[in-house]
Amino acid sequence: MSYLQAQNLSLQFGGLKAVNDVSFSIEKGEIFTIIGPNGAGKTSIFNLISKFYRPTSGRILLDGQDVTDVPAHRIAEFGVARTFQNIELFENATVLQNLLVGRHRLNRTNLWQELLFLPSVRRSERAHRRRAEEVIEFLGLEAHRDKLISGLAYGVRKIVEVARALCSEPRLILLDEPSSGLNAEETDDMSFWIRDIRKELGVTVLMVEHDMSLVSKVSDRVLALNYGKVLTTGTSAEVQSHPDVVAAYLGA
């Protein structure tokens, strides 16, 4: 049984079929990449899985459970975390506060306890703080811990977003163009981290990516998409040499 199964997903905006009958399945512990030209529907698939959009038809199964009708704020409970293409961090908060919001789904204290800051709240805050620190160490963010996001460089923000997603202890992480806007060195770091996320944390990775060198370095399988339709699925080398994919990128 695959970990994530997308069955005949379709998403229609009026007459436009952004996602057209897309099916794929991801195994546990896999790094799965979706590629495709601009406007192919990659981010739409992400938004379908993270429930910002409801599919017009089709089903999404996560670990055997049907999550097609789960509201967006509850998908985190199923162990799904995501990053955004145009960084969506909490600008006027520190890195640490951002990471702690990532811990939100694991919080069990209620409003009354928090207003009085009972010892139980302090214990839970300490635990969250420790887990956040582990992620900080994992991604090497120590130097930026107490800085405001608004003062951080783009490359660092990108990493903070991954860190925030990891703080929610996901089983599936969706990375929307993790290397966009990063330089060669940072992209290299990112590829190591993506592999570490799988290897050390055991998280399944689904990503959208344009940088083919990064894609072939880290992905187990690649899905090529164009005009909302699946062109082909396979290893990075297979997909890159597939005639339909070449045609989609180069024309012909």
Partner: protein, 383 residues
């Protein structure tokens, strides 16, 4: 200079980052406790108003400053608190009970307003809260059997466990101070735990908050409820301080005054609520000064530099006319808020932080530290 060397996670959780805080806030508390024994009635009365406004400020700050939901209807929550006190008194409900009831009822109204507010953003939410304020004001004026309409209600002196707490007495002053401190502590506790962080997350990016499992709808309603409940408590105190309440005390103007308090004090900080309250309460004495003393003083100054008696009298008369012009208060508010937006968008608290940093860095402060960037890339606009 001070470097905070962190060795324990508790240092990030505690309210005071270093021991200096105990000294400064301890001294402030001691000064406020000593104040009624040192200063006269007028000053203490003004301080009580600062406390009341500051409580409202904290409530509104949680909603507008931290959750990013602007409300121009907070006078209505204040009114609910005040009328709860006045009406409950008629039925002989004891003070501690109706004080809490005032917060509870205002909080319930906050929930009621919070639900439609889920679908509204920015300016539309402002319009919705304005209409809520107008509705409440109208209901208070028309529901004469309960509220006595436009004739208003008297509010008797509060009885706390058999003791009278007169509105100008020391007991009342300490009660207000205690409520303010309690509200501040609870707000700080809230902001350093999950709910408060979720509020900030909603303010900065609803999308990201939702993807991390924050139930945006329920947190917005919570923010409204907490904010309204705190304002309701302030309303109960306000009613006792005024000893008479009527619908025209809770108009849109008061709501605007509250939001001004947030903006001028510094949105997004609890300090801002306090600074803003001090500013708003100081405006009235300042206006009186302007009206009563300024024309005469300037005219005598003009006489001293050799202006003729006739001209000096004319000057005095003109100045007096300007100073007592209707709407001067609004004009001053408008001017002050424009100056703040232009030169200090983070309000008085922003300036406070800069002064503090100056002393923290003392010999190393660079003039360029706070030079504001005046040009923006397209993608940075609207920040």
């Amino acid at each position: 200079m001070r470097f905070i060397f962190k060795t324990d996670y508790d240092q990030d959780i505690d309210l005071a980052p270093h021991t200096g805080y105990f000294w400064s806030y301890g001294l402030l508390t001691a000064a406020l406790v000593a104040a009624p024994f040192v200063f006269g009635n007028y000053f203490i009365s003004q301080l009580v108003f600062v406390f009341i406004y500051a409580i409202v400020g904290v409530g509104l700050m949680i909603l507008a400053g931290y959750t990013g939901l602007a409300s121009l209807g907070h006078a209505a929550f204040l009114a609910i608190g005040a009328y709860t006190a006045a009406v409950a008194q008629k039925y002989g409900v004891p003070f501690p009970v109706y004080f809490l009831l005032a917060g509870l009822l205002a909080g319930l109204l906050g929930v009621l307003v919070g639900f439609p507010a889920l679908r509204l953003q920015g300016i539309y939410l402002v319009i919705a809260t304005i209409s809520m304020g107008l509705l409440v004001e109208e209901i208070l004026a028309r529901w004469e059997s309960v509220t006595n309409g436009n004739e208003g209600l008297r509010v008797k002196t509060a009885q706390v466990f058999g003791l009278e707490m007169t509105r100008d007495g020391v007991g009342f002053y300490f009660f207000c101070l205690a409520v303010l401190i309690a509200v501040l502590l609870m707000a700080m506790n809230l902001l350093r735990s999950a709910t408060g962080r979720a509020f900030v997350a909603i303010r900065d990016s609803e999308t990201a908050a939702r993807s991390l499992g924050v139930d945006v709808a329920s947190h917005k309603v919570k923010a409204f409820a907490i904010s309204a409940a705190i304002t309701g408590l302030a309303g109960c105190i306000f009613a006792h301080k005024m000893s008479f309440i009527s619908p025209e005390m809770f108009t849109l103007t008061l709501s605007i005054e509250f939001i001004m308090m947030i903006l001028i004090g510094g949105a997004g900080s609890l300090h801002g609520a306090i600074f803003g309250a001090i500013f708003v309460v100081m405006v009235d004495p300042f206006l009186t000064l302007l009206k009563d003393d300024m024309p005469g003083l300037l005219a005598s100054a003009a006489r001293l530099v050799g202006v003729g008696a006739d001209n000096a009298a004319l000057l005095q008369e003109t100045l007096a006319r300007w100073a007592s012009a209707a709407g001067l208060k609004g004009a001053i508010y408008g001017a002050v808020i424009m100056l703040f937006i232009l030169f200090e968008p983070h309000g008085i608290y922003g300036r406070w932080l800069k002064v503090k940093l100056f002393f923290n860095l003392f010999p190393l402060y660079k003039q360029a530290t706070f030079v504001r960037q005046k040009t923006y890339m397209k993608s940075e606009r609207g920040r």
